[in-house]
């Protein structure tokens, strides 16, 4: 049936950089990608990054130990700012995860070939970002081992059920579903490649481990047929799922009555912000890796250009959100809404707002220029700035809305403590550790999809004849 996976060629402008450098064959793409794991001498770059990540991971463990030992009082949260770094970091990490799903699912459904060489790494990034995000609400409960009964619906001796009218419970459902389905999607994509790794690996242990994970995949016609169906269905399911996740995260704020949080625009604007920061993170990770592992033939300037364009578009939606919020705060004639916006611009946290406008609104305008979009170094800098900007955005939303309560007698200030920073930087360590382990043991680019791409770009000329 034509309904199945007819990933047709999308036209490439004649003078544009292709998604695949010429001269690639089935064997060359398979060997290049599997070789990174199986034969290449691990570069110093890997050790350096893994080392940094691993060190920061220790900081995370230290911070968590301290937190569990002394309680959430070691954090900077107080009255009235009861939500601090924990929620900021949670939203930041979840947002970063969104690009992975977008690249794997939405671009797949719209047959964008440029997704193929970046989707695997981006999906891994999603999974690890969700793991990092989960740490925050988990430890914000104070005693996570006692939190189960009000988070999960199971009959318990207190006769309690989760509160399904609360966005926080929606969040539990959304994020746990998102983590699970991301893992399922990622693993599904890996199965044929695990078979390749099984067949390519030389060592007995590696062969066994890849063999067990590949579960006996042999690439028969029926295998592929059901595989493609499952993959497409997962893509179809992931697309609304990924939109729902940051939507539900935005409901954590918007469903409340707090001025500056209660805005109907929050769902789409949070989703756009998530994709924005996610693509920034993909670029931050892949630009150096592409250089170090010499993958410029597989991750070409075309990929950088396309990702930069997505950032420009989503960046505009985010910026639109800021403007619309400010305008409607005035238009609504609500005194409190107006005050929040004014306080954000001129109050004690003015620096955070204007830094965020610079990072998220001004800097990305450089992406209108193709030169910036296709040059690794400037693009890398912009993507780092956007990462910072998106963190600041959540900082502004969380802190400025809370620190000025309706009653001036309840006003306060907020700042993260050293333990807040330790746990935040610690999750960056957790993320880097997981990501670099992934690079070391699994193919970072989908091998079979690259073979398909080779086949599509030059049918009939891709198989090297037998030795």
């Amino acid at each position: 049936m034509a309904s199945e996976l007819t990933r047709q060629a999308v036209p490439t402008a004649p003078d544009e950089v292709p998604v695949l450098a010429p001269g690639q064959t089935f064997k060359s793409v398979t060997d290049t990608i599997s070789g990174i794991v199986l034969t290449l001498k691990t570069p110093l770059f890997w050790f350096a990054n893994f080392g940094i990540g691993f060190l920061l991971l220790q900081l995370f463990l230290l911070g968590v130990t301290m937190l569990l030992f002394k309680g959430t009082g070691v954090w900077g949260i107080n009255q009235p700012v009861g939500w601090g770094f924990a929620i900021i970091n949670f939203v930041w990490w979840i947002g970063i995860g969104h690009a992975g799903t977008l690249i794997s699912a939405i671009l797949f459904l719209f047959r964008q070939q440029w997704r193929m060489s970046i989707n695997r790494a981006a999906e891994a990034m999603t999974l690890f970002a969700v793991i990092c995000a989960l740490q925050f609400p988990l430890f914000h409960t104070g005693r996570p081992w006692l939190a189960a009964y009000w988070l999960l619906p199971y009959p318990n001796t207190m006769g309690m059920w989760p509160q399904f009218r609360s966005p926080l419970i929606w969040d539990v459902f959304a994020v746990s579903t998102y983590g699970t389905i991301s893992a399922v999607f990622w693993f599904t994509g890996l199965i044929p490649d695990l078979a390749t790794m099984r067949d390519k690996a030389q060592g007995r242990l590696a062969k066994t481990i890849y063999g067990v994970l590949a579960m006996g995949w042999r690439g028969s016609a029926a295998h592929w047929r059901r595989y493609e169906t499952a993959y497409m269905l997962l893509a179809g399911l992931s697309t609304p799922l990924v939109l729902s996740v940051h939507t539900v995260v935005s409901f954590d704020f918007a469903v409340s009555l707090i001025p500056g949080w209660h805005a109907t625009l929050f769902p789409p604007y949070f989703v756009a912000g998530a994709i924005y920061s996610g693509f920034a993170m993909v670029l931050t990770l892949l630009i150096p890796i592409r250089a170090v592992y010499n993958l410029k033939g597989l991750i070409t300037e075309r990929h950088l250009d396309a990702m930069a364009k997505v950032m420009l578009a989503t960046g505009w939606i985010v910026f639109y959100g800021y403007m619309m919020e400010a305008f409607v705060a005035w238009y609504s004639a609500s005194y409190y809404e107006g005050f929040v916006i004014w306080n954000r611009m001129t109050g004690p946290y003015w620096w955070a707002l204007w830094a965020l406008v610079f990072c998220n609104g001004v800097m990305p305008q450089t992406l209108w220029f193709k030169k910036v979009r296709t040059s690794p170094v400037p693009l890398f800098i912009v993507s780092i700035i956007v990462n910072v900007g998106m963190w600041l955005e959540r900082y502004v939303i969380v802190v400025t809305s809370l620190h000025r309560d309706y009653l001036p007698s309840s006003w306060g200030m907020y700042a993260g403590t050293v333990w807040d920073w330790a746990i935040y930087l610690g999750t960056i360590g957790l993320f880097l550790t997981l990501f670099y382990l992934f690079l070391r043991v699994l193919p970072m680019i989908s091998i079979f999809e690259m073979r398909e791409l080779v086949h599509k770009k030059s049918p009939g000329k891709h198989v090297e004849m037998m030795e």
Binding site: L5, T6, T25, F26, K27, T30, P153, P155, G159, W161, P162, F164, R165, S166, W170, A174, T177, T180, I181, V184, F185, F187, T188, P192, A195, T196, R198, D199, K200, M215, G216, R218, G219, S220, A221, A222, H223, W224, R225, R226, Y227, E228, T229, A230, L233, L234, L237, S238, P240, L241, S244, F448, E452, P459, G460, H462, V463, E464, M465, M466
Partner: protein, 193 residues
């Protein structure tokens, strides 16, 4: 590292082809010649290959649809039951409870839509992977095709195979070998069971 297996008989005859088009063509011809227990192996999905040897089905779609509906029902009933329905005749821990929460109605259906949506996706997504594996007969610890050295080394990289299995009613070792050679195979080999 050849796997040494005692010859327990023949699993089938396997032929290697140059590329996806040749494999698809050979698969069509084998099926056309009346062979029914045929397997085609390739390192990339080939459009129409499963159809060519009569192996296309819609089992995964059906399973995912059913699972999605089950997830929808499960999520919705969970929300309704725990937030609205108090039963005196079940032990307290199993009964839902009908409390006024923030003045919202007991039947807060707009709020229930979201957990329901998530469970729908959760059930359907897990089923997509699991049903794909189950219908494909995976995980499978041993399969005879891996006894062929070329298959072991190249099937997941750049080689295309067609295997006619011995259980096929039309199978005859010598005749099938000849038939496959006639299809333009670059190499034909026996597969030990």
């Amino acid at each position: 590292m050849d796997v040494q297996t005692k010859s327990k008989g023949l699993h089938g005859v396997m032929a290697e082809f140059r590329g996806p088009e040749e494999l698809l063509d050979a698969a069509r011809k084998a099926y056309g010649a009346g062979y029914r227990t045929v397997e085609a192996y390739s390192p990339i999905p080939i459009h129409g290959l499963a159809e060519a040897i009569g192996q296309a089905d819609r089992k995964v779609q059906t399973a995912v649809l059913l699972a999605g509906m089950a997830g929808l029902g499960a999520g919705l009933s969970l929300c309704y039951y725990t937030s609205m329905i108090e039963l005196s005749w079940v032990p307290a821990m199993f009964s839902g409870y009908a409390h006024n929460i923030g003045g919202r109605p007991l039947n807060s259906w707009p709020a229930f839509i979201i957990p329901t949506f998530e469970t729908t996706i959760l059930f359907a997504g897990i089923t997509a992977l699991v049903s794909m594996l189950v219908f494909n007969g995976l995980p499978l610890p041993y399969h005879p095709v891996f006894n062929v050295a070329r298959f072991r080394e190249h099937a997941s990289t750049d080689a295309f195979f067609l295997c006619i299995e011995a259980t096929d009613p039309k199978f005859d070792a010598a005749e099938t070998r000849r038939f496959l050679t006639g299809l333009g195979a670059t190499e034909v080999s026996d597969v030990e069971a």
